[in-house]
Amino acid sequence: MSTENDGGLLRSALSSEQVDRTFDFCGRHAWTLIAVAAVAGALPPVFGLREGYYMTVLSEMFLFGVLALSWDIVGGQTGYPSFGNMAFFGIGAYVTAILVTDAALAFPLAIVGAAVVVVVFALINGLIVLRLRGHYFAIATLGILLATQQVSRNLAITGGASGKILLDVPPGIVFYYFFLGVLVAEIAVVYYLSQTRFGFVLNAIRDDEEKATAMGFNTTYYKTAAWVLAALFTGLAGGAYGLFNTFINPQTAYNGAWNVELIAMALMGGTGTVAGPVIGAFGLHTVIEVVETAFVGWQLVLLGIAVIVTVIGYPDGVVGTLREYASEMEYYEYGGMAAAEADDEPEVPADE
């Protein structure tokens, strides 16, 4: 699956050493970079962007960043690609909506309530699906997403097919900072974990779950932890979204197309990396917005095509391809030639 085709264009623009050094730099100054990005994100409202279309777009970009990165925790880092993450989103949205309208709870409390419900749901849900692998896992998560959607559609407490309308909502700027805050927090958490053994184990599960078990890791425990973490962030995002959007219904809350969108974002940016899903989210969301305004109705067609192209042509995504490119030199400098010449003659045993 290596990207031997990341050829001419990249090579002519940047040398692999430059890319390698950039990665090094980012690695060494990661925390500073995160802080800088957080501050940069916090600035636009300070400079006057307090409402309107562009602020909404930025807020949604942060939102998708959270969703894509959350998906990636389980999909990219742990190797369990879920097609049903939006279930957490929807539940978060509905619980918040119900708490705010029916129980007249304040927004912050409602969100906390939603988070609790989502975590419990994730634990139960995880017990069921995390024992499955590959195809079965993916489809099971999709099944749960759709089943949950159907249930929401049929119950009175969730407002049936029309959902719930929320009238008394905080101003847009609150959501801007909320989504930004959750995104920064999530980036920090995911980055930190990726440097610890917890993160290593997740990657090990992705690469070879049986070997990880044989090495002494209780993979169920790790998978569940990752799953709940992803659910938590997704649920928080969903919780805020209901209010942000002023209404929520089964279609928007459990949006299967969004689920594919966020997978595409993670994939395009580069799964299994911290920056990848965020970059992918920002990039793809912007493109889709542009298409939506210029060619109404075609944005999902674009999404479908974008997914196809990425999967076939660039499965490693932006960050992944760059990383492959950066480490090329290194491999050939050491080992590459020596390795190729020394070992690849299979030994035919003299006896049995």
Partner: protein, 258 residues
């Protein structure tokens, strides 16, 4: 079906003992009442024709399979029904026939992951690997002549290099007992020499106790202190390499006369 006269050193501690392990798959009895023992500091070989049940026995020991009858004792504790990860955590390391490493991670990460210290407690997991750990990974990489490849993706290594990495990972973990499944498979003679060297050094310097399955007779005879022979799921012989080489039953089994 009686054993040879050589007995394991009674004073040394028995790290692994299996007691009448039997494992069936449908109508086939893959392992039939097999008892073996491995003592501290030994290198014990497990040989036999293809289909003799060697890998199945290994799987019963590691917990990937559960024996239908019999028991497995690790350091005196009955681990027969323990889940695989728990047995591994208790000090049992395993190397795979097809050589498995974590291809998407760097070589260094593979090694860092292999270190068992910190156990399962949460704080250990959430701490970043400290410098002494990193130093040890560098040390081990140098030891198996893979130094310089620390930041390479493990999946890019050649088969032989991956085998060495897998071995280094086990050394990192410092298991009480290391199970090796056909370690000599698929590598050229010069690397085989190196591997024998590494294994013997690990055994003498670090008291590594090793139990290995192997088809390469020269390799086994050179490296093992004692050997068990399985055929058709049954243990048909045990003893020192010299004794095994002269055992008629063993020859018959391999030449198909059983």
């Amino acid at each position: 079906m009686s054993d040879s006269t050589a007995t394991p050193r009674a004073e040394a501690e028995t790290v692994l003992r299996t007691d009448g392990i039997t494992k069936r798959f449908g109508g086939l009895t893959a392992v039939d009442d097999v008892s073996v023992a491995v003592n501290e500091g030994e290198i014990v070989g497990l040989i036999g024709p293809n289909g003799a049940g060697k890998s199945t026995l290994f799987n019963c020991v590691t917990g990937r399979l559960t024996a239908d009858e019999g028991a497995v004792f690790l350091q005196g504790e009955d681990v027969t029904r323990w889940p695989e990860y728990r047995i591994a955590r208790a000090g049992l390391g395993r190397m795979f026939q097809e050589t498995r490493v974590f291809g998407g991670m760097t070589v260094r990460k593979n090694l860092l992951l292999a270190a068992q210290e910190g156990g399962a407690n949460v704080s250990g997991l959430l701490r970043r690997p400290d410098d002494s750990l990193r130093a040890r990974t560098t040390e081990l990489l140098e030891y198996v002549d893979l130094g310089g490849l620390a930041t390479t993706q493990a999946g890019r290594l050649s088969f032989g290099q991956q085998k060495l990495l897998e071995f280094a990972m086990e050394l990192m973990a410092e298991p009480d007992l290391l199970l090796m499944d056909e370690p000599a498979g698929g590598i050229n003679p010069s690397m085989l020499e190196n591997l024998i060297d590494y294994i013997q050094t690990a055994n003498s310097e670090e008291e590594a106790t090793i139990f290995l399955i192997e088809h390469n007779m020269e390799f086994v005879m050179e490296i093992a202190d004692r050997i068990y022979v399985l055929a058709h799921g049954e243990r048909i012989a045990s003893g020192t390499p010299a004794e095994i080489q002269n055992d008629q039953r063993v020859l018959d089994a391999y030449l198909g006369r059983e």
